[in-house]
Every structure is written in C-alpha cells, then in structure tokens.
C-alpha cells in the first residue's frame, strides 16, 4: 500500500522528467501518451490507496531530505481522508484535462514542454496534497508556482504572456513569504514541522502567536488562491493555454490555499480573530471578483474572476469553521469550473480563436454538444437549484446564517448578494455566447474529438456533485462531512429556516437570470461607462499597485544603484583614487627625468641624515 501511495506523486514526476529530457525526440503521440498515462496511473493508484485513507490514514517516509541540528524534514507522505479526497479530485480532474490537452495541443510544436510542465505540475500539486510536513508542502507549493509560471508564459513569443507568468510567480511569492515566516515560526515554537504534530499541539501556543501564525498562513493561502489583496495575477494568468487555465487556475492550484487552511485547520481554528479575517477575506474577494466578472469581455477572464469569487466562498467556509463545506464547494467547483474552462477552450476554437465574447454569439449553432455542456457548467456556477454548485454554495451561506450574530449575518447578506451577481454574470456570459448570431468574421476551426469527450463526464460530476454531501433535508447523509470526520459542521438550524434559506438561494438565482435575460438577450454594443471600465480593470487594482508598489520599488532600486553603488561607494573609492592621482600630479615635478634632480634629492636626504646625527650629537 505504501508503495502505491508513493507512486501517486512519483508517476507524474517520472512522466514529467521523461517528457522534459527526451520529449522532443519522442514521437508526438507517445509523448502525449506518457503524460496522460502517468496521470491516469496516479489516479488509479489513488483509488487503490483509497481504502487505507479512513481514520488515521496511510503514512510513509521515503527518505530524509534535510536534517540539521534539531531540524529535520523528511520526504514523507500522509494519506488521510482530507488528502485522499483532494488527491482523488486532483488526479481525476487532471487525467481528464490531460486527455483534453492531448487534443488541444495536437498541432503545437512545443508539445513536449507543455506535457512536461503539466505533469510536473500534477506532481507538485500532489506533493502539496500528500506532504506530511510543511517544508515538503512548501516544495510542492513553489513547484506549482514554477509550473504555473512556465505554462502561463507557454507561448513565450508574445511578451505579455511571459510577463503574465512572471507576475503570477512574483505575486504568489509575496504570499509565500508569509507562508515561509509562518513555517519558521512554527518550527521555532514546536521544534518540528510535521503537520500532524503541529496540529495536535496547537493549543500550547499563546493566543497572540497563534493569531499571527494563522494570519501568516492565510497570507500564503491568499497568494496562491488569488484572494484579496494578492489577487491581481489570476486574470492575467489566462494568457496560458486553456487546459492550463482549467487545471491550474481553476481546479487545483488556486484551491491549494483553501487546502492549506483546511490542513492546518486545528491550528487556525483556535484563533477567532484569524477566523474572522479569513471569512472577511473570503467574502470580500467573492464580492469583488463577482463585480469584476460582470464587465469582462474575454471569456476566460470572466471565468477567471468567477474562479476567484468561488474560491472566496471556500475561504469564507473555512472562516466559518466548516471544513466540510469548504471541501464540498472545492470539489464541485473543481468539476464545473474545469468543465467551463474546457468548454471555453472548445468555444474559442469554434469561434476561430476569438476570445472576445462581444465578437461571439450564436455559438449554439456551431456545436450543440458544447452548448449543452457549457450550459450545464454555467448552471452549476450560477447555483441553479439541485446542481452541485447550488448545494455547496448554499451550505456555506447557511452556515454563515446559522452563526446568527450580526457579523456573520452581514457576511451572509454579502454572500447572498454575490450569489445574485454570480447568477447574473453567468447568464450574461450564456446570452452573449449563445444568443443571436455570430458577430465575428472568423471561421470555425475543427474540434478534435479528444477535446469533447472528457466534458460530459465533468458535466455529470458537476451536476450531481451535490450527492457528495446531500443534506438530510433531501434525504442525503452528508457523506463528505462524515468522511472528513467533521460531523459538527452539519447545520444546527430549524427546518423552517433551512427551507427559507433554500428559497432565498433559488430566488436570488432566478433574479440574476431574469436581469440577464432582459439586459443581454439581445446584444447591443453599449458605450463603456465609467463604472464598467472600473470593473473591467478589476477596480483599477493594477494601476493602484503600480503606483503604490512597483514604481516606488523601481525608484528605490535606481537610487541604490546610481546613488548608492555608483554614487556613494564607488564615488568614495574613486574619489580616493583621484585624490592620489592629484597628489601625484602635484609632486610630479620632482621626477622630471633628469638624473641631477634625483641626485639632488639624494643629497638633501643625506643632509637630513647628517643633520639628524648632528642634532643627536648636540643633545
């Protein structure tokens, strides 16, 4: 069993290395086959390990990575219920996306690089999921960052793609700084970085330290998961190929932050303040991103903002003390968002590589299949009753409501509002894409079969995702909560309230639909309003950060370089050298090349010596 467990991350690593080293020399189908096979194998291995996950879970230590003094970091894997469900989701979705990518990359010349990075990504992501200590998790954490960097800038010939990759890496690295400090602090306090050990001893910490460490971990999570205020990289990251967006920037990597918080939940949950902050960050991001999604023109940017918004919901769930709600939403979201992205990839292909939804329209006529599949994803996103997204989102909102105090009621209110906006932009997207006639000029490109057939599976998973944690109200048994051993996450509110909340959720969904129906059913090129422009640019965040951070930073660098290094230090050094030179020039007449002059100096010296002796004699 432990061998099987080790195989889960090792297979994609192996696939990635093979593709990285020899990929360009292998025949194209083989390279794709290796990549898909590796991930699929990993999925099967996860399934094989599954029975061992219950309860304490499986553990294995491969070797000692770093050991120095009292510090020791092993390469150890931990396969407990939380990791198991996450690993299953990652490998499963990744397998489907790899298949899709094999179709998508059919005629790209750099296929090997793509699959190498994609496989390495899966490896790194699984390392995050399975790591039994924080340092190994950090390895995966940075590893996904690296792969994300390489894949966002995959089409490197356009500078802006590469710049987007760089931005993603650096912004997430700001978050990583917090994570690192948190890690160091935890080690300094506990003398270990094992996740289980820290969690079991978390109560020993004093409240201030606990809160600070929790906030540091939150900072790390914010960076990876594109939450406020480290969110600006995600929309730009859409420059990457679509499978990348589906895998990394929708289903897996961006949820790593949520996973981290769930992993460290026993620690984080001990600090009410930190929990409040997490909830606030979550709900504010959800709201912020939803408003931004309203105004976007590029199909993938809409989806990117919606991802940010949904991940915000997951943060909110963590902040509400409900790991199972967070994981529930994480899972359903992974399914339908991967579906949406892959569908978007198909649509872009069908529209002749057109990204702009204002240039699309009438896409239904180009492919019925894609229309239905994409619609299924949108319904889940919008929270149409009885879809997976509906149940998971409702659970989060209901949990907030159930807390009952004004703070949480406020959060509930904002959450409901956001849900309405979500429904609105989902249907805006649907109408702009499918209603009316095609507005662009491009002819459709052919759609490889491989790009279609992972979609129905995901649609099925997305629509029926609610079964994972079907509330008692609908006759379910809340399987996920039980699996995660979080029975106390279950709602403790009266039945009427529960009905009421369901009603509100459904009403909000309908409201959003209706507004979208009247506003976007017929396409009209509206002039851009100031408000819209504001949302389009993500509340001017890029400009804001540019002013606040980047420009001063460049000024500081310039000052250090020109003022500090060239000016002050070299100035001093060279000034000293120049002073020596001046002095040399000043006494240069002494050495005019005439022998007699030199001998004169000699004679004067003699005189001095004789004079000195005379003086001594006189004394």
């Amino acid at each position: 069993m432990t061998l099987l467990l080790a195989l889960i991350p090792i297979l994609p690593l192996f696939g990635g290395l093979v593709n990285a080293c020899f990929g360009s020399r292998l025949p194209r189908p083989l390279s794709a086959l290796i990549a898909c096979g590796a991930v699929l194998g990993s999925f099967l291995a996860t399934l094989g390990c599954w029975p061992g996950a219950a309860g304490e879970g499986l553990k294995t230590t491969l070797f000692t990575w770093l050991q120095s003094g009292s510090f020791s970091a092993e390469v150890g894997l931990l396969f407990d219920p939380l990791a198991a469900i996450m690993a299953l989701m990652v490998t499963g979705v990744a397998s489907l996306i790899h298949l899709y990518a094999a179709g998508y990359m059919e005629d790209d010349s750099d296929q090997a690089r793509f699959f190498a990075l994609l496989n390495l990504f899966v490896f790194a992501m699984l390392t995050i999921v399975l790591a039994d200590n924080l340092l190994l998790m950090f390895l995966g954490w940075e590893g996904v960052g690296f792969c994300s960097y390489g894949l966002i800038g995959f089409w490197y010939r356009k500078t802006e793609n590469a710049v987007a990759g760089r931005k993603a890496f650096i912004v997430t690295r700001i978050g990583d700084l917090f994570f690192t400090v948190g890690l160091l602090w935890l080690f300094a306090r506990f003398g270990t970085i094992g996740i289980e050990a820290i969690n079991s001893r978390a109560a020993e910490l004093d409240p201030t330290t606990l809160t600070l460490i929790s906030l540091l971990l939150l900072g790390g999570a914010c960076g990876k998961s594109a939450q406020l205020p480290l969110m600006s990289w995600l929309p730009d990251a859409m420059a990457g190929p679509t499978p990348v967006s589906a895998l990394i920037h929708a289903a897996t990597m961006v949820t790593a932050g949520v996973y981290l918080l769930c992993r460290m939940f026993p620690l984080v949950s001990l600090s009410p303040l930190a929990m409040g902050v997490i909830a606030c960050v979550g709900v504010l991001t959800a709201f912020y991103a939803a408003t931004c999604a309203l105004a976007q023109r590029e199909i993938k940017r809409v989806l990117a903002y919606s991802t940010m918004s949904q991940v915000g919901y997951m943060f909110l769930a963590v902040g509400l003390d409900s790991v199972s709600a967070a994981m529930f939403h994480l899972l359903t979201h992974a399914f339908f968002k991967a579906l949406l992205f892959m569908g978007a990839g198909c649509l872009i292909q069908l529209a002749g590589h057109e990204n702009d939804i204002f240039q699309m329209g009438g896409m239904r006529r180009r492919s019925q299949t894609v229309f239905w599949l994409f619609l299924a994803g949108l319904l889940c996103l919008a929270g149409a009753p009885l879809t997976g997204g509906f149940f998971s989102k409702d659970l989060i909102l209901a949990t907030a409501f159930a807390k009952g105090d004004p703070f949480h009621l406020g959060i509930y209110g904002l959450g409901v509002l956001t849900a309405g906006i979500t429904s609105l932009y989902s249907f805006r997207l649907a109408y702009l894409l499918f209603a009316g006639d095609f507005r662009g000029e491009e002819l459709p490109h052919e759609l490889p079969k491989l790009m279609i057939w992972p979609l129905p599976l995901l649609a099925l998973l997305g629509l029926s995702g609610g079964l994972l944690n079907l509330p008692h109200l609908f006759g379910g048994r809340s399987w996920l909560s039980g699996w995660l051993e979080r029975e106390n996450d279950l709602l403790q509110i009266p039945l009427q309230s529960e009905y009421l909340l369901l009603g509100v959720a459904a009403a909000v969904f309908l409201l959003g639909w209706l507004v979208a129906h009247f506003r976007y059913r017929r396409f009209a090129e509206r002039e851009t309003e100031v408000c819209k422009q504001f949302f389009l640019t993500g509340w001017q965040c890029d400009a804001f950060f540019d002013r606040l951070l980047i420009r001063p930073f460049r000024k500081l660098c310039y000052f250090c370089w020109q003022g500090g290094d060239l000016g002050l230090i070299d100035g001093l050094v060279e000034g000293f050298a120049r002073a020596c030179l001046q002095w040399g020039h000043a006494i240069r007449f002494l050495a005019d090349g005439r022998i007699s002059r030199y001998l004169q100096g000699f004679a004067w010296g003699l005189l001095l010596i004789v004079g000195w002796f005379l003086l001594q004699a006189v004394r």
Binding site: A20, L66, F71, E142, G153, R157, C557, D565, V573
Partner: protein, 495 residues
C-alpha cells in the same frame, strides 16, 4: 601544536601541488594549444579524481582532521608547512576541483595565449586549494595572495572591454584588505612570541594567545578586512560586479564559485576561532551588513542591463545570506551557510557558463539585444531556466536547501533577522525572472549563431544540472560531512 607528522602518503600535498605541476607542463608545451588544453583538463580531472577518492574513502562523518600534514619549513621564523583537511575543507575542495574542470572546459576554444591562460587557471587552483588547506598563517597568507595574481591577469588580459579598470579595481580592493591581514598576522605572531617565548605561526598555537579585548578587536577587524572584501559584504562589494562583468568565462566561474568562498572560509577557520570574543561582539554588525547587502544587491540586480552584472549582484545577495547564517551562530544556520556556499558555487558557476555560451551565440550581454532564445536554442534555454530557478531558490534545487537551513537557524536565534531575510527570496525571484524574461522569453532576437548545444557544452551542463538537482533533493551527505567540524568550530574548538 600537534607534532604528529603523517607517515601515510601526503595526499594533501598531492592535491595542492598537482595543479602547479600541470602549470609547469603547460608552460613547457606552450607551443601547442591542444596539448595545453588536454594537459589542463587532465590535471583538473586528476585533482577531481583524487578529491572524490578521498571523500569516498575517508571516514568523513568523524570530527577532527581527516588528513593532516606538518613539516618543518622555515625554522628561523617558526613557519611550518601545515596542512589539514576537515569536512568543510573537503567539501570546498570538491567544489573547487569540480568547478575547475568546468572552467577548463568552458575555455576550450581560448585563442589568446592558450598556454598562459591554462597555466594561470591551474595556478589559481593551487592557490584556492592551498587556502582551504593551510593551517599555518604564513602559508595561508601565501596562498591567499597567490590566488590574487592569476585572477588579476585572467581579468586584465583575457577580459572584455573595460578589463584593465576591473582588474585594477579588483586587485586594489582585495590587496588593501589583505595587507591589514598580513599586519595582523605578524603582530599576532610577535605578541604570541613575547608571551610564550615560542615564535610560531601555527593556528592552533596562536589560538592560545592571551589578548585583551581591545587587542582582540583590532586583530579581528584586520582579519575581517581581508575576508569581508573577498566575500564581498556590503559595502565592500563594488569590485565584484566590475570584475565579474569583465572577466572571461572561466574567470567568472572561479571568481563567483570559489574566490568568494575563500573569504567565508577565512572567517570560519581563522577570524572566528582566533578571536571569539570580538567575533561575538561583531555578530549584530555582521548580520546588519549581511541583511542590507542581501536586499541592496538584489534591488540593484533588478535594474542591470548587462546579464553578467545581474548574476554578479545576485552573488552579493546570496553571500549576504551566507554571512547572515554565520552571524546567527548556531549549528543549523552554519550548516546552511556552508551548504549555500556550495550550492551557490555550482548554480552561479553554471549561470556564468551559460552566459558565456549565450554570448558566444549572440555576441552581446545586453538585455535589450537579447530575447526569445528558446526559439532557436531550446536546450540551452531549458538549462538556463533550470539554473535561474535554482538560483532564485526553488525548493528541490540547489540553493533552497541552504537558504531554508539558514533561515531556520537565524529565525530560531534572532526571529526578526530571519523574518526580514525571508524577503530576500522575493527579490531574488524579481531579478531572476526579469533575467529569464529578457533572455529566453519574448520575441526572438535573431542570434547569429543558431546552433543549440554542442557535445562539449552538453558535457559541461549535464554534470552541473545533476549536481544542482542532487544538492536540492538530497543534500544530506554534504550535511553529514560538515556536521562534526561545525560543531567543533561553534564550541570554539579546533579539530
């Protein structure tokens, strides 16, 4: 002083003088460039072989000197020929031997006075190995200065456009530091002689000299002057970017990979053990300078236009990390520092090697004129990507292991320093990604030579890449070797 003279084969002397023998042979066969090339390669390979053989066969886990040699040399002044190798020296010598092979291989096509060039590279090797082995202060100083001369000529003769300026700057900076060192060595010798009547330069004996605090501080500062300039610590670093930029590829590799390490080694081996009280007092200052340098150099690197300068400033930044680790004064941080020295030697050496290859193909080092190298040279660019990420501290690659150990060590004794230092990782990412952006991504810059890696270049890059990955994924063997000596040094003892 331990009078034990090893009766066994003098391996250390062999290691030390082999390169010099190669130098002589090179000069003998100076008419044929090919002969010199192969001679240099053979010599460096032989040194590598011997050092690896020693590393494998010795009981490296144990404390104390792994090998020790002590012979009479100049009796009149109590100067002895004392060599000793412990785990730290062993690792650094392995690094030296390895990087010298790379340095010879990267200069394979050297056209300008090849015999002299390779001869100087070999002399440099003797100097560096000597510094890592010498335990007699005069012997140490001899090798310390011996390193300077070949480097001066390597920069001054085989360098690029502003080579003379750079060479003179390098020479004056380092010389002014080492003169103070010489002064301190002689005064310490006299003082010790007056106290005990035994005039000796042996490190172990001089450690026993009784000094009052003022004396100790003065001596310490003089010693540190030499080491700090060599490291180089902010604000004594401005020679480095110039020297790096102008040096030929092999010179840059040696400079970054090895010469800088001699400064740190000098601190560990001489300055700290000889003057423990002064060292303890100076730690906060050292840490502050290291922290400033760490950020300052990273910031400056962010704006450079010459890719060699970017890497040069990154060296300053990384060495700031190393010094910070030393200043934390605990086992974990020191192990991290030594590990980072080695990783930095490999990664930065690799980066300079790659820059030389890029320059060969594009005839420029200006970021403005570079770009899109992946299109024509995917293999070369892939290696460049790997080494850049190793340098910015991606976990699983070389630098990270050292950095995280340093951070852990620093944080456990001085949380604030540690927390600040973490920020350095961010800026490392900033300048390294900019470098990558400008060189391998973006629109293609049309290099005039579109060939990808040739067989010799593969031969250079694959060992470097393997080492980078090995140091990142499984540095434990290296850590085991340095553990015991570091423990001893931290306790103020000598092997």
């Amino acid at each position: 002083m331990t009078a034990e003279t090893s009766i066994t084969f003098p391996w250390l002397s062999l290691l030390l003088w082999l390169p010099l023998l190669g130098t002589l042979l090179c000069l003998l066969w100076r008419k044929s460039a090919a002969a010199c090339r192969y001679l240099a390669l053979g010599t460096t390979l032989l040194v590598l072989l011997v050092s690896v053989g020693l590393a494998v066969s010795l009981e490296t886990g144990a404390g104390g000197w792994l090998l020790f040699e002590d012979y009479r040399w100049i009796d009149a002044y109590g100067i002895r020929y004392t060599l000793g190798m412990d785990g730290i020296s062993l690792l650094l010598i392995l690094l030296t031997a390895f990087l010298q092979v790379i340095a010879v291989l990267i200069s394979w096509d050297m056209r300008k006075h090849p015999a002299l060039f390779f001869a100087l590279v070999l002399v440099l090797e003797t100097g560096i190995i000597g510094v890592f082995l010498a335990l007699d202060l005069v012997l140490f100083y001899l090798f310390w200065e011996l390193m300077l001369i070949p480097m001066f000529f390597l920069i001054g003769v085989w360098g690029h456009e502003r080579r003379v300026y750079a060479a003179v700057k390098f020479f004056l900076f380092t010389l002014s530091g080492s003169l103070l060192l010489l002064l301190a060595i002689i005064s310490l010798y006299l003082l010790h002689g007056e106290q005990t009547g035994v005039y000796t330069f042996a490190l172990a004996a001089l450690k026993q000299t009784e000094l009052n605090f003022t004396q100790e501080m003065i001596f310490y500062l003089c010693f540190m002057a030499a080491f700090v300039v060599k490291v180089p610590l902010f604000p004594f670093h401005t020679w480095l970017p110039d020297a790096h930029t102008e040096a030929p590829a092999a010179g840059s590799v040696d400079l970054a990979g090895l010469l800088l390490k001699t400064g740190v080694y000098g601190m560990i081996r001489f300055a700290f053990p000889l003057f423990p009280l002064a060292a303890e007092k100076s730690l906060p200052v050292l840490a502050a300078l290291a922290l400033i340098g760490l950020f300052y150099a990273a910031w400056i690197a962010y704006l450079q236009f010459d890719i060699k300068r970017i890497v040069a400033y990154s060296s300053v930044s990384h060495l700031g990390f190393v010094i910070l680790g030393l200043a934390a004064w605990n086992q974990t941080a020191w192990e991290g520092s030594v590990l980072l020295m080695i990783s930095h030697g490999v990664t930065t050496g690799a980066l300079f090697v790659m820059i030389a290859m890029i320059r060969q193909r594009t005839a420029t080092r200006e970021v403005d004129k570079l770009g899109g190298l992946w299109q024509s040279q995917p293999n070369l660019s892939a290696f460049f990507l790997l080494f850049c990420f190793a340098s910015l501290g991606l976990p699983g690659l070389a630098n990270f292991a050292g950095e995280i150990l340093i951070l852990i060590g620093v944080f456990s004794s001085q949380p604030l320093w540690g927390a600040i230092a973490v920020g350095g990782i961010l800026f490392a990412a900033a300048y390294m990604l900019r470098l990558l952006q400008e060189v391998i991504w973006g629109p293609c810059c049309e290099p005039f030579d579109k060939s990808d890696l040739c067989r010799r270049e593969w031969l250079i890059l694959i060992p470097l890449a393997l080492l980078v990955i090995w140091l990142g994924c499984y540095p434990q063997p290296a850590l085991d070797v340095m553990r015991a000596p570091i423990q001893l040094l931290l306790q103020g003892g000598m092997p």
